[in-house]
């Protein structure tokens, strides 16, 4: 009985244990420079090379692979220059991420390297610009009394910098690079006020397009010039 139990345990262990093997006898080099939106070098940005990493979905681009592996990692120096020695894995979901902390947007380089490996084994990302994250707290409230409605939309720059490459060439149709996003709401007697937060980039412009009681639309713009921005509107 004990022996059978031991055999079953061993079989279960061997069944569930798995080993992932990366490519033998190869290293790649990822290099480049990371700067902020004003061209100032960012020191200490973490650069990671990953395999088996998903690309997320249209509405939520970004890494999504639950079985991702980090193949190499390093940090940018005081000049913003980075150089990462990395293992290599032939995989459709090869990715390089630059993460300079919560204050900056993140950069993700995706490519399929099953059929393509740079002949010099170097992924040169050149200069990558990470924009400073801006948090916009906005508060819209009704002071005009019941029966008044507000329909509005906010157009702002998102913080995703997801670049997809095929054979070393950027595929714009599959990349998301600080693209504009829209957020629309109607405020009425059911929901007359709205208080929320949106994340965008410092230096970008937000368009606030609104219409009160179905009157012609009015467009207001404001530039996010600080990491934390407060916006209040009453109707």
């Amino acid at each position: 009985m004990n022996i059978k139990f031991l055999v079953i345990i061993c079989l279960l262990f061997s069944f569930y244990s798995c080993e992932t093997k990366f490519e033998d006898d190869i290293r790649i080099l990822v290099k480049g420079k990371v700067v902020d939106g004003f061209g100032v070098p960012i020191a200490g940005a973490e650069v990671g090379v990953y395999t088996q990493r998903g690309r997320g979905a249209f509405f939520a681009p970004g890494p999504s692979g639950s079985d991702q592996y980090n193949l190499g990692r390093n940090f940018s120096d005081s000049n913003g220059d980075f150089s990462v020695v990395s293992l290599f894995d032939n995989d459709a979901d090869f990715s390089i991420e630059i993460d300079a902390g919560d204050s900056y947007s993140k950069y993700n380089y995706y490519t399929n390297i099953i059929d393509y490996v740079p002949s010099d084994l170097v992924f040169n990302l050149e200069t990558i610009e990470l924009k400073t994250i801006g948090i916009v707290n906005y508060n819209i409230s009704r002071i005009s009394g019941e029966g008044n409605t507000l329909s509005y939309s906010l157009k702002y720059e998102n913080v995703y910098f997801e670049a997809y490459y095929e054979e070393g060439i950027l595929v714009e149709g599959e990349s998301y690079c600080y693209e504009d996003v829209f957020e629309s709401w109607i405020l009425n007697d059911i929901n007359s006020d709205r208080e929320s937060t949106l994340v965008t980039t410092v230096g970008s412009t937000i368009e606030f397009i609104y219409s009160i009681n179905d009157q012609p639309e009015i467009i207001e713009t404001f530039i996010i010039n600080e990491p934390t921005y407060e916006f209040t509107f009453t109707y």
């Binding site: 262990f13 080993e19 033998d24 006898d25 190869i26 290293r27 084994l121």
Partner: protein, 235 residues
Amino acid sequence: MSLHLLIKKIIALLCLMLSLFASAQDEDKLDSKNEAAAESSIFSSRERQTFVVLSNGFNLPITAGNNFIGQGLEGNSGLDFGFQLYLYKQFFIGFSLNYNFFDVKDQSVVGNYKKTKVNEELLNIGYEFLPTDKLRLGVVASVTGSARFKNKQSSGSNQAYQIDHSRLSNYGIYIRYELNSVVMVYLDYAYSIAKTDIMVPNELEDVFRKGAYNNVGIGLAFNIGKRDLISRFLN
């Protein structure tokens, strides 16, 4: 013919020779009485002549140099298994199978993994001096050798790993103290040079093309037989 295959054939040949000459042990005992009166020198001693030495020991690998081993790895521990066949007097050929364990001290140099296990297979030649009644001083150099670096990223049941291969050269010395006619304790030192087959970008060529480490070890060795190989044919 691959190096592994060559070494396996040599081991098989040595085992065959061992079995052929095992029957000569009785004869050895008779001969040893006559040899007691024979002359001894630092270069040879009929009384202390041996046929085969088996050894097993622990060692500490110590990394060195401006290369991926010296900069990226740190020695942890090791195990040695050795076999020496004395061809003529104190001149021997040998085979050694070593396992060296390293911790990764700088992932930015080697890539993202934590531990390295190096399996070494070496075919050696060497000469053993007999400076005193109880001591044996040997010098060893490898004729051919190979090393397999298994680089592990994680531990436990969910492992990821990668393999690097290299040719290996090894130069060493040892000193053995005879506890009796069969058992000896030894201290040894070896310098190993690994010439890798790793594909790397030009920028990394100098770091990855060659690596070196030292080994300091201690262990037990066992004498088998009392005549060298050629003497068995001549007499």
